[in-house]
Symmetry: C2
Subunit: 93 residues, 2 copies
């Protein structure tokens, strides 16, 4: 009878422990699920930003090349203008 009662107590304690562990699993699964969603969103945001950043880099290279072209053109125009002024001065001497 005593052994019966002891076994019954142990069984109750184990049943309670099972419930606690199940609750803990539920909490962990919920935390994991939230983090998985957050991580998926962050990965998507990262990929979008990477794509956008690459587009901006390409645009930057384009503008750098355009600026270089304009600077070369300015040099040519300066030179042509100077040549023309020199010719003018020589002709009108």
């Amino acid at each position: 009878m005593v052994q019966n009662a002891q076994l019954d107590n142990e069984k109750s304690a184990l049943t309670y422990q099972v419930e606690l562990l199940k609750d803990k699993i539920e909490d962990l699964e919920e935390t994991l699920s939230l983090l998985q969603r957050e991580h998926r969103d962050k990965c998507r945001d990262f990929e979008n930003l990477k794509r956008l950043s690459n587009q901006i880099k390409e645009e930057l290279e384009y503008y750098k090349a355009q600026l270089h072209e304009r600077e070369e053109l300015i040099k040519v125009l300066d030179c042509e203008f100077l040549t023309f002024v020199c010719c003018y001065l020589l002709c009108t001497k």
Copy 2:
């Protein structure tokens, strides 16, 4: 005696269930810990990329403004050159 044996069986089953649940918790905690690290790394990478992307944007704005300035200068040079040529032609008529 029969009841004793039954309680003992139930206790064994519960002890086994507790072990299974503890294993599951261990797995979940490990998965969660890995994901937390991965997520932390991804967040750091995202912030770094955002900073870099903003720097490139600023650089792009600078080059756009520089290009605009050069284009205005080319217009002025073109206009000055044309004026000078007209003056030259009028003077040498």
